[in-house]
């Protein structure tokens, strides 16, 4: 039911270690995400686990803050340092907050690999989506669809998570940039905290205001937007979202949403882990800035 995700998760780390050659020291890699709930992070974890399975001899732990909070993320990094990690794979909440602590980690010889979102401190490698670019692509999609439907103007609503999440803010920025100089009115962004129900209430209100299109900046926002369009029966409203989940797919299939921008979090985790182990072992890494890309998933290209 998670069609594009990595294959079934690896057996747990312990069984793994028994199989590995006992001679050389295990590489300890710790993944720190923004929170623990989002599917996105679970997929990153899955990808990392898949790499661990292939590489062997890796002691891997996922230290997730229970919510998105800079202080918590910094604590997690400190914990990882205290836990004597060799490498940290991290999705930085924002570019600044975590930097000083990561510097500290680097000074202890710990390798930093960024997944999803980098911080200012230089890391060994970054595996991330270019969110602004992806947002712009989403905007382009909506523009095309509206033009095709002959709607040259109208209001467009944006459902975001909150104004503090760098990645979704970047998507919004990209999305807005696609409409520059066109005849559409982009309404004030509303924030639904990524909660599907709250986002749906917001989207319902947008529909009442007579929008021609709604953009959801993450999974929860997208599900909310899709359900609102579906519930209103106005399928001519163009709904475009971000991220993938079963619900989003079914909303695309029944025509409530036009498409979604799918990132590849499993690739981030998988490639990130490989790079981490390489870096610890002192091997060279071919490419240090990897755009893991987005794919546009529509009715015709989802399974």
């Amino acid at each position: 039911s998670q069609p594009t995700n990595a294959p079934a998760s690896a057996p747990d780390a312990k069984a793994e270690s028994a199989a590995a050659p006992a001679s050389d020291k295990k590489v300890k890699v710790i993944l720190i995400t923004m929170d623990s709930l989002d599917q996105h992070w679970v997929s990153v974890d899955k990808g990392a686990k898949k790499a661990v399975e292939e590489l062997g001899n890796v002691d891997y732990k996922w230290m997730a803050p229970d919510k998105k909070d800079d202080a918590q993320q910094i604590e997690r990094v400190n914990n990882a340092i205290a836990d004597q990690a060799d490498a940290i794979m991290i999705a930085a909440n924002g570019p600044d907050a975590i930097s000083k602590t990561l510097e500290d980690a680097k000074s202890k010889g710990i390798k930093i690999i960024y997944v999803d979102s980098p911080a200012k401190t230089e890391g060994v490698a970054t595996f991330a989506t270019d969110n602004e670019q992806a947002g712009k692509i989403a905007g382009q999609q909506m523009l095309d669809a509206l033009t095709a439907a002959g709607k040259k103007d109208g209001k467009i609503g944006i459902v975001n998570v909150n104004s503090a999440t760098a990645s979704t803010v970047a998507r919004e920025k990209g999305f807005r940039s696609a409409f520059e100089g066109k005849g559409y009115t982009l309404l004030q962004t509303q924030y639904g905290e990524g909660d599907a129900t709250k986002s749906q209430d917001i989207a319902d209100n947008y529909i009442t205001e007579g929008v021609v299109g709604i953009f959801g900046c993450n999974e929860g926002s997208t599900v909310g937007a899709g359900n609102a369009i579906k519930g209103s029966g106005k399928k001519d409203i163009v709904g475009i979202g971000f991220d993938k989940s079963d619900s989003i797919f079914s909303l695309i299939k029944d025509g409530s949403l036009l498409c979604t921008m799918a990132q590849n979090p499993d690739v981030m985790g998988y490639e990130g882990m490989k790079a981490a182990v390489k870096a610890v072992k002192g091997e060279s890494i071919d490419k240090t800035q990897v755009d893991t890309g987005v794919s546009i998933l529509k009715k015709d290209n989802i399974k």
Binding site: Q188, E193, A196, N205, T208, G224, S245, S247
Partner: protein, 347 residues
């Protein structure tokens, strides 16, 4: 003749305890509607009225549960997490192929179980309600997360379309089902609270639990009952949530316990127990929902919204205090501390 009868009805309504406050707050609500209507023409559109009411419904339902608990002088912080749990459990069961009605029933039973647990912890184990339900709040959120192995569920799919229509998308006599559900629950629980023996016992426990015990009331049972009502209401809202989104989300219902408190208290339910009527909670929920909905229409900058909501909450309760006691400063029976109320009024 007729005029006189009218007067009597009015008199009767006003004689209901706490009605004064409800009327004050209702005036506030109407004022809000006027302001938002002026600020945004679409606020009054048929579509938005339906929408608004549908958005108010879940707040009202959890407000009913919280009001029951507050009236006994306790509090239920686990409501939000139970909403999340109900949402995840129902959706998980349905995606795993269980019949929607069976899943619904099982979910509600589990939520009632949390209510029983809360009641036992508070009544039998004598835990302070704040801390007992803070504990179950954390546990219930954990359960919401673990039930589908830390994933939001997949879409519950076509099989459960009837379920989704029942709780959110469908209408009956031109009114959304969600609204009907809220209305029915309100009628039932208002009847129970205001007209029956159990209802009277709930007020008595909130007013003086010792005296209630000595009057032959099984106070432990009453405490358990109110938490069961609260768990049940949260469970229903959880079902509405999973029907709305068509999937289970692990952090559904986050902060709802606070919305429920706000709705209750704005409507005149005292956090100290013994006071409040459910019609007040209806108005309180409506104010809360109107603020959320109306501010979006009014185009209030997002950052201002919290400030406006916070100030309105404070003012509405302040107004009530002023009206009830003449002047804020003069009130002799200060409610201002949990610990002293109840028996603080002197002879």
């Amino acid at each position: 003749m007729e005029n006189r009868e009218k007067q009597n009805v009015w008199k009767k309504v006003m004689a209901i305890r706490g009605m004064g406050q409800v009327i004050t707050v209702t005036i506030g609500l109407i004022a809000l509607w006027i302001v938002f209507g002026l600020l945004s023409p679409s606020f009054y559109s048929a579509r938005n009225v339906g929408n608004l009411l549908r958005q108010v419904a879940p707040i009202l339902i959890i407000g009913i549960g919280q009001s029951y608990v507050l009236i006994t002088g306790n509090i239920d912080l686990s409501i939000g997490s139970v909403v999340g749990m109900s949402c995840m459990i129902s959706a998980t069961l349905m995606t795993k192929g269980m019949n929607p009605w069976a899943a619904m029933l099982l979910t509600i039973l589990i939520c009632i179980g949390v209510g029983v647990l809360n009641g036992l912890l508070v009544a039998q184990c004598k835990l302070p309600p704040f801390i007992a339900t803070l504990g179950t709040m954390t546990v219930a959120r954990g359960v919401a997360q673990i039930v589908n192995n830390n994933y939001n569920t997949d879409a519950i799919g076509e099989a459960a379309q009837g379920y989704r229509n029942l709780f959110y998308y469908g209408s009956t006599f031109g009114v959304y089902n969600t609204i009907w559900i809220a209305v029915i629950l309100f009628l039932v629980f208002d009847f129970l609270l205001s007209k029956t023996r159990t209802g009277r016992h709930i007020y008595a426990v909130g007013s003086n639990i010792e005296a209630s015990k000595l009057s032959g009331i099984d106070t432990d049972l009453i405490t358990i009952k109110v938490y069961v009502v609260s768990g049940f209401c949260a469970g229903i809202v959880g079902l509405i949530t999973s029907a709305t989104a068509g999937m289970g989300t692990m952090d559904a219902g986050n902060m709802y316990e606070m919305y429920a408190v706000a709705a209750s208290v704005i409507g005149g339910v005292s956090t100290l127990g013994g006071q409040g009527i459910l019609i007040g909670t209806v108005v309180g929920a409506a104010i809360w929902g109107t603020l959320q909905n109306g501010l979006q229409f009014a185009g209030a900058p997002v950052a201002m919204r919290n400030i406006v909501i916070g100030i309105i909450v404070i003012i509405s309760v302040l107004l009530d205090v002023i009206i009830r006691t003449g002047k804020p400063r003069k009130s002799k029976k200060s409610n201002h501390s949990n610990s002293v109320s109840g028996t603080s009024q002197g002879s």
